[in-house]
Symmetry: C2
Subunit: 245 residues, 2 copies
Amino acid sequence: MGLKYSKDYTVSYFDADVNSNMKLPNLMSVALEVSGEQSSVLGRSDKYLIDTYGCAWVVLEYKFEITRLPVYEEKLKIVTEATSYNKFFTYRDFVYYDQDGQELVKISSTWSLMNLQERKIENITDEIVAPYHSEKLNKLVRGNKYKKIENYTIEHPYSVRFYDLDINGHVNNTKYFDWLVDVLDDQFLTDYEPTTMYFKYIKEIHYGSQVESKVLVEDSTTYHEIYTGSEKNAQAEIIWRKRNK
Amino acid sequence: MGLKYSKDYTVSYFDADVNSNMKLPNLMSVALEVSGEQSSVLGRSDKYLIDTYGCAWVVLEYKFEITRLPVYEEKLKIVTEATSYNKFFTYRDFVYYDQDGQELVKISSTWSLMNLQERKIENITDEIVAPYHSEKLNKLVRGNKYKKIENYTIEHPYSVRFYDLDINGHVNNTKYFDWLVDVLDDQFLTDYEPTTMYFKYIKEIHYGSQVESKVLVEDSTTYHEIYTGSEKNAQAEIIWRKRNK
């Protein structure tokens, strides 16, 4: 329903993992660059939002549907669209296409608008989102219902690094994907590839924090939680399938 | 003396650190992309080298001379040139320019050719490097003479992550810069900016290793060593200056 914005992209050497697949954090960050460009083109850059409203978009949830991960040197088209919104949330899709126009990855995302001074969520006005031509909804879109995890198969500590911080001094949410993936062992990551991922951002992580990445592995689904101390900062579920090798 | 190859680049949100400066690993990886493109254009892609000679280029040393770090959203021109070579080494420069043509960063690098099967250094033949029009030298270019470090100001452990591995299963050498920088505290990294960096790659680090990043801080110079157990894998020296704020 919303205006679409697209960009061509070629998977770089530094985007690719040992399986030649585009890394999940890079998949997300490249997509977010494209939506940032759309916002700038439509006169709704991050800087404009801060200067005019004192607000910034914060991501709440992602859903990845992966038909096939892009591979090293592959030429892609990334299309993004702010599909719809209601008073509390906006919804944006990102789709990666291959050169034949086949859909490789679809990322659905849910956002809210944060008042940076007061650190609280603002209502979304028609004015702010008007340029995107998104559909106005009177209902909320249901997110994933996460499994309650009683015990974990693997836990691993990570410290937040200086380069994990973005310009705004926050740990960028794409960095969480590093901790989610890394806690799994390399044999698993070589034998399996992700097909679906749900990710929910709960609470900001600060520089200097010690992060615990915890995972319950059940058959080909992994249930993840990211903690700092007793605080749950994020959770995720990833459904995997055996790689064809 | 060699053929020059250049590319325009805009610093992305994900390239930038909390000071809005382009991160050192990104500065290096973007530059390396450009030289990879040049090699492909000249018929000397990584794949060609492996298929034809069973060899790959491995970096030995970098020297960064930083007039000013690129900043978020800055439009840059990156120029690379394989300047010269001798029997054992090739020398390549990368220069980042701003929109006014001012030099921001110059990276000089030294490479050798590794036989991947035998894991040993090969002699460099004229045939391999001919397309670059590099100058043939009969002497070696002197690298930095590193200070012998007796004791360290700070030491910090890092584990090698799955996403630190590149397509070839090696820890990419740009990842070392993460460990070099991160061991310094954030106050130092906010107060100071790098002006010169020497980096020497000594020995490959494997997945699953525990890395120790050690640094001696003396005035505005930091002396770095990267260890796995008792093995020294890399060393670096960085000269910093107070940031104008």
